[in-house]
């Protein structure tokens, strides 16, 4: 055997390489079948970053369809509820430059809102219930409807179909439980220049 190899070095090398190629090919083929990923993982990742308001302002029926569209090369700046932070997150995920929010699809708002039904005026038409993408409205035909505030994503979709205009989008009131500290103003280059200006500001913390 060794003699045969030493006599035909080229053929032996060829045979060895072909053999290796077959073995690894089989291994890769097996792995591709065994560890196959269902669906498109990038869609999942983009969907994770979207705010899930399901508002349709991007022009797609829900966040997931938009995520699919982004994965297929659509613009990433069509999501007003997510705003610039979502755009930045998707941009860093896809490794593309982060554009500004496309104003065509709406403006970013700092104030979170929830839908509120003026119950006296509700006629029980169920139109808002059908429009709600997250089933956050309770009610039945000819009975008063109401919004489950905790489930409402503030998507606005119920406002338009209401025939008596009894749905308001109210800003979410900040409570003491979700109050947060804010980042202090950045120190300037020469802080002493601002001494007078800063002295007039209320003291925010006693960092002794």
């Amino acid at each position: 055997m060794i003699e045969l190899i030493s006599q035909n070095p080229i053929l032996a090398a060829l045979a060895a390489l072909v053999g290796l190629a077959i073995v690894f090919g089989a291994l890769l083929g097996f792995a591709a079948e065994k560890f196959k990923v269902e669906g498109d993982p990038i869609v999942e990742q983009i969907d994770e970053l979207l705010p899930q308001t399901q508002c349709g302002q991007c022009g797609f029926p829900g966040c997931r369809p938009y995520a699919e569209s982004i994965a297929n090369g659509d613009e990433i700046n069509k999501c007003p509820p997510g705003g610039q932070s979502t755009i930045n997150a998707i941009a860093s995920l896809l490794d593309v430059p982060a554009p500004e929010l496309d104003a065509e699809h709406g403006e970013e708002s700092d104030v979170k809102t929830v839908a509120y039904i003026r119950e006296d005026e509700c006629i029980g038409c169920t139109k808002c219930i059908q429009a709600c993408p997250v089933d956050a409205i309770m009610g039945a035909a000819k009975f008063m409807h109401t919004v489950i505030t905790d489930e409402c994503t503030g998507c606005d979709l119920c406002v338009e179909p209401c025939p008596v205009d009894c749905i308001d989008m109210l800003p979410v009131v900040e409570t003491i439980a979700d109050w947060r500290w804010s980042i202090p103003p950045k120190p300037g280059l020469i802080a002493t220049d601002k001494r007078g200006e800063l002295a007039n500001q209320p003291v925010e913390e006693d960092a002794a």
Binding site: D47, Q52, C63, I176, W181, I183, P184, P187, E204, A208
Partner: protein, 582 residues
């Protein structure tokens, strides 16, 4: 001397504790109005169970706990409930929170209460229930409900009970003076704790060496009880739970774990006193020792203060000079916060009201850029990198902040204290923590919304599918009904269904024709009409032919053929009619 370990970092700010311990624990007159916030603790806010106008006795439950991690509230004195509404409370936000206001009647009448002296023979579960019902929370800082903390569950046996008497923050002497005067009761409380926790092997009282009087006061009472008083050098912040555990046991509390996970429970010494009062005397937590100190008050002293006492009440009774100091701080100079107004009430976690003069604690210098001196990293007791955290907090880089263990920061303020650029580092960390927590909550909400949306979609699809199925079933049923014709009519209908082949169309037409022959009377009438019409046509045609022959027209042949044709048709109709009549 028991061996102690040394924590990394730490600072030595001026202690300023001597001013407030010259006199013993004092008592103030009962304020006219007391305000009891419904949330003085970590967990769900209590739910009021009294009405405006109702008279209450001291110690009566005025709010019930909402869930497991919650505590009840008790009336701190007898009087009338005068309001249940939002009031300013001691919170850095300066926002309002739900409170119950009691107008005191000055009598300070206790509700009927009874303690138990032989707690050794009572089950720990019952003792825990009593602690919970007494509304006791950790009185050191965070205010975690004690009954929850003391109930770590069977899978986490407790072998070390640590009593935190460190009181490392400058100015504060509430625990110090409480130990000096109430050492016996405190040790009694520790024994109750020991009974609740099924007698842990190690019971240690951790105390800094700047309180020799307190150490001395404890000594005779702990003798022969198995409780050891561990004295260690003064350093800020030794009183942090993680730091104290390390100092006393040399064990580091893993990130994100609770002391119970490593078999320890850490209780503030003020809490042990409250537990003694709750079990032995049956008194709920309605008062606590609070230090009133700072150069802006004339009398610096500790007071046994009713929960709900307005801070202004403490200040006015201690000759507060508003001109001397600009602000009032709740807590110490390191971790305390400036109060939004002096009307906020004392709560169960208020160990100090500090009214410093301008000279004592000057206003914050404007922050200057970081010079990367690294002093903050040396001062950090949690061995974090405050400077890095500062950069990442500015950049709002949440991932890196978490990677640098931002959440292990105890917000002790040692880094801000040493910072030569006066950067309010702790505020950056608090803001960053808030942002990250907020982002996490948003994530949970988004996931929830996604789930609901998916479900919504699925439901719509299913409804659509069911409708489609019903439609198909109805069609099927109709087809079946047509396939078995009960009469000729139904057959013709079934034939009329849209079909593509020509043969079908012909068959359908024939069937229609056949259907039309159904009535013999109709047929006869029709034939008679046809014959009449044909006879008429024949007559006209014969006339035309006669004319043509006369004028010798070239249409002769065509016309004669037409006449012949008409005559034939007439003959046919006549034979048919004869057949029919026969």
């Amino acid at each position: 001397m028991i061996k102690t370990w040394v924590t990394p970092g730490g600072v030595h700010p001026p202690e300023n504790k001597h001013q407030s311990v010259t006199q013993g624990i004092g008592h103030l007159p009962i304020p006219e109005k007391l305000v009891i916030p419904l949330s003085q603790h970590i967990g769900a806010a209590a739910i009021p169970c009294v009405e405006v106008g109702q008279t209450v006795l001291k110690g009566q439950v005025i709010a019930k706990p909402a869930g497991v991690v919650s505590i009840p509230m008790h009336a701190p004195t007898s009087g009338t409930i005068s309001a249940i509404e939002h009031r300013p409370i001691a919170h850095s936000s300066g926002m309002l929170a739900p409170c119950i206001e009691i107008t005191s009647d000055g009598a300070d009448n206790w509700i009927e209460h009874e303690g138990i002296s032989d707690y050794e023979h009572i089950s720990p579960a019952k003792l825990l229930e009593m602690v919970g019902n007494a509304g006791i929370t950790g009185m050191g800082g965070a205010g975690f409900p004690s009954a929850v903390k003391l109930n770590p569950g069977r899978q986490r046996p407790i072998d070390t009970l640590i009593i935190n008497a460190t009181e490392c923050e400058p100015y504060i002497t509430a625990d110090d003076s409480a130990i000096r005067e109430r050492a016996e009761e405190i040790v009694e409380g520790i024994k109750i704790l020991s009974a609740i926790l099924d007698h842990p092997h190690n019971i240690m009282i951790g105390i800094e060496d700047n309180k020799p009087e307190a150490i001395e006061a404890l000594a005779p009472h702990v003798d022969g009880t198995g409780i050891s008083v561990v004295v260690f050098p003064t350093k800020y912040p030794s009183g942090g739970e993680k730091q104290l555990i390390y100092i006393l046991t040399g064990k580091e509390l893993p990130s994100g774990k609770l002391p119970a996970d490593i078999g320890m429970v850490c209780i503030n010494i003020g809490t042990t006193y409250a537990i003694k009062r709750a079990i032995i005397d049956g008194e709920p937590l309605v008062s606590r020792v609070t230090t009133v100190t700072g150069d802006a008050v004339g009398i610096q002293r500790n007071y046994d203060t009713l929960i709900g006492t307005p801070v202004s009440h403490l200040l006015t009774h201690n000759e507060y000079d508003e001109q001397a100091g600009g602000r009032v701080v709740m807590g110490g100079p390191m971790m305390g916060f400036t109060l939004p107004s002096a009307e906020v009430p004392i709560v169960k976690t208020t160990n100090c009201i500090l009214a410093p003069s301008y000279a004592e604690i000057p206003d914050d210098e404007p922050a200057q850029p970081c010079i990367r001196c690294g002093m903050c990293a040396e001062a950090c007791p949690a061995s974090l990198l405050p400077q890095q955290l500062f950069w990442y907090a500015q950049a709002e880089d949440h991932e890196r902040l978490e990677a640098h263990n931002l959440f292990d920061c105890i917000e002790c303020g040692a880094c801000s204290y040493v910072c030569p650029s006066n950067i309010p580092l702790v505020q950056y960390y608090r803001a960053a923590k808030g942002e990250i927590r907020h982002a996490r909550e948003e994530k949970v909400k988004a996931d929830h919304a996604r789930e609901r949306f998916e479900f919504h979609k699925q439901r719509i699809e299913q409804a659509e599918r069911e409708k489609e199925e019903k439609r198909a079933a109805r069609r099927e049923a109709a087809l079946k009904a047509k396939a078995n014709p009960p009469a000729a009519k139904s057959e013709t209908k079934s034939e009329a269904k849209p079909s593509s082949s020509a043969a079908d169309i012909i068959a359908a037409a024939q069937a229609r024709a056949a259907a039309k022959q159904a009535s013999p009377e109709d047929q006869q009438a029709k034939l008679e009409r046809t014959i009449a019409a044909a006879e008429q046509r024949l007559k006209v045609a014969e006339e035309k032919l006669a004319e043509a022959i006369e004028s010798n027209s070239d249409k002769q042949a065509v016309l004669s053929a037409a006449v012949e044709n008409t005559r034939q048709k007439l003959e046919q109709s006549k034979t048919k009619l004869a057949e029919l009549q026969a």
